[in-house]
C-alpha cells in the first residue's frame, strides 16, 4: 500500500518533467542495484585515499568531463 503511494507520487513528480512511468521505474534504486554500487563505492572510497581527484570529479567539477564520465558513469 505504502509502496503504491510512493510510486504514485514519483509518477506525478516525473510527469512534471515529461517522464513516462517506465522511465520513472528505471530511475529507482533496487536491491540488485544497491549491491554493486555499495561494493564499488567502497572500492572507490579506498582508492580515494590515494587520489583526491576522485573527490573533485564526483563532487565538484565545473565542467563535468566526458573523459571522467567514461570511467565512472559506467558503474553508477
Amino acid at each position: 500500500m505504502r509502496q503504491e503511494k510512493v510510486k504514485t507520487q514519483l509518477y506525478r513528480l516525473g510527469k512534471t518533467v515529461g517522464l513516462e512511468k517506465s522511465e520513472v521505474d528505471r530511475a529507482k534504486k533496487t536491491v540488485m542495484s544497491k549491491i554493486p554500487i555499495g561494493v564499488i563505492a567502497a572500492a572507490f572510497a579506498f582508492i580515494g585515499f590515494f587520489s583526491s581527484r576522485l573527490e573533485a570529479i564526483g563532487l565538484w567539477y565545473i565542467v563535468a568531463s566526458f573523459r571522467d564520465f567514461g570511467l565512472f558513469n559506467n558503474f553508477f
Binding site: 515529461g18 522511465e23 530511475a27 581527484r53 566526458f66
Partner: protein, 346 residues
C-alpha cells in the same frame, strides 16, 4: 614541490567579469570588467603557483573568459604546466577561428550553456536575442572540431518543463550534460527558484536520463547541488557517495580581482585572502583557510540537518545553496533525503 594535507585538485577561476550576455541567474552579476582584474603577468604567475600546489584541473570561467585577449595565453600556460584545462563559455563569441584556437589548446572540456529548448526561453534567460541560434550553431562547430563539449543547463521554474526538449536538441551533438539548480544569488529573481517538489522532479529527470542513454550517447550528471542520500533514486552524480562540500578541501576558486575562496559561488564574506597580498601556498596552508569546511564538526549542522543520520558525512549539503536560502552554512534544504522524509516517501 609544496606538500599539504589538502590539494586544490579542481580550481574555478573567474578570469573576468566582462560578459556579452546578461543572464538572469548570473551569480557574479557579470557585465563590465572589474577595473582591478589580474593582469596577464599576475595571471601567468598564478598558474605557476597553482602548479606548485599540485592542482590538476583549472576551469576558466567568467563573465565570458574568451573576451579576455590573453585567455589563450593563460590557457596555453596552464597546458604547458601539465594541468588539465576547461573553459566555460556562453557560446556567443565562438566562431571557427576561436574554435581552432581552442582545438590547439587540447582542452579537457568546454562547457557551454543552453538554458532553454526554444529561442524564446534561452534568449530571455540570457538577455540576448538570437543567442539560442548562435549557441546551437557553435555546438555544431565544436562537434565538427571534435572538442569535448559539456552543455550546462541552469534549471529554474522558467525552463524546468523544457528539459526533455533540450535533451533532444543536444543528443549526439554534445558529449555531456550537466544540470544545476539556479540559486538565489547574484541577480537571480527568487520567485523563479524551484520548489522542493520541482527540485525532486529535476533529480528524477537526471537519473532517468542517465538510465536512458549510454555515456557515448549523452553523459548526464547533476551538479554538486543536486542529490544527497536519496533512499529511493539512483545517483544523480558520477560517484554515488556524497562526502560533503569540498570547498577548501579539494577545490579552490579565484575572483577576477585575485580574491580567493573555497568555492566561487559562496558569498563574498567567504573571501579568504587576495593573491596580491600573499603567496598562494601561504593562503592555502593557512590553518584558517576555509575553516568552515576543513574544521567542520557535527555540531555545526543547523536546521533540519541537525539531527540527520547523514549529517556528519554530508555536512549539510551545498554551502552555496545553504547560505543563499537560509543565510547559514550546513543546512541546505534542497536535499533528496530530507524531501523524501517531508513527503513521507520513506
Amino acid at each position: 614541490m609544496f606538500k599539504s594535507k589538502y590539494v586544490p585538485v579542481s580550481v574555478a577561476w573567474e578570469l573576468t567579469l566582462a560578459c556579452n550576455m546578461k543572464c538572469m541567474h548570473c551569480g557574479s552579476s557579470a557585465g563590465k570588467a572589474d577595473k582591478n582584474e589580474l593582469t596577464t603577468k599576475e595571471s601567468l604567475d598564478l598558474c605557476d603557483q597553482l602548479h606548485d600546489l599540485n592542482c590538476e584541473i583549472i576551469s576558466l570561467t567568467g563573465g565570458e573568459p574568451l573576451l579576455r585577449s590573453d585567455c589563450y595565453e593563460i590557457g596555453k600556460k596552464i597546458k604547458d604546466l601539465g594541468i588539465d584545462l576547461s573553459i566555460i563559455s556562453n557560446g556567443l563569441i565562438l566562431d571557427e577561428k576561436k574554435i581552432a584556437e581552442l582545438r590547439k589548446l587540447e582542452i579537457y572540456g568546454l562547457g557551454m550553456s543552453i538554458d532553454g529548448a526554444k529561442a524564446k526561453t534561452h534568449d530571455s534567460v540570457r538577455g540576448i536575442k538570437g543567442s539560442f541560434d548562435k549557441c546551437m550553431s557553435s555546438l555544431k562547430l565544436l562537434k565538427k572540431a571534435n572538442i569535448p563539449t559539456t552543455i550546462i543547463t541552469t534549471v529554474h521554474k522558467g525552463n524546468l518543463k523544457e528539459l526533455p526538449q533540450i535533451r533532444e536538441k543536444i543528443l549526439h551533438k554534445a558529449n555531456a550534460w550537466q544540470l544545476q539548480i539556479a540559486a538565489p544569488i547574484g541577480r537571480f529573481p527568487e520567485k523563479l527558484i524551484l520548489s522542493k517538489e520541482e527540485y525532486y522532479s529535476l533529480a528524477l529527470f537526471i537519473v532517468a536520463t542517465r538510465k536512458k542513454y549510454s555515456v557515448k550517447e549523452l553523459a548526464v550528471m547533476g551538479a554538486h547541488s543536486i542529490g544527497y542520500n536519496s533512499q529511493i533514486l539512483r545517483s544523480t552524480m558520477i560517484i554515488p557517495v556524497w562526502k560533503g562540500c569540498q570547498a577548501g578541501i579539494a577545490t579552490m576558486a579565484f575572483q577576477s580581482n585575485g580574491n580567493v575562496k573555497g568555492c566561487l559561488s559562496l558569498p563574498d564574506e567567504y573571501v579568504e585572502a587576495n593573491i596580491r597580498e600573499k603567496r598562494l601556498k601561504d593562503i592555502w596552508s593557512d590553518p584558517n583557510f576555509a575553516s568552515y569546511s576543513r574544521n567542520f564538526k557535527k555540531e555545526d549542522l543547523k536546521g533540519s540537518c541537525k539531527d540527520c543520520r547523514y549529517g556528519k558525512s554530508c555536512k549539510g549539503g551545498c554551502g552555496t545553496m545553504s547560505t543563499a536560502i537560509t543565510g547559514e552554512l550546513n543546512c541546505d534544504p534542497y536535499c533528496l533525503y530530507l524531501i523524501e522524509k517531508e513527503m513521507k516517501m520513506t
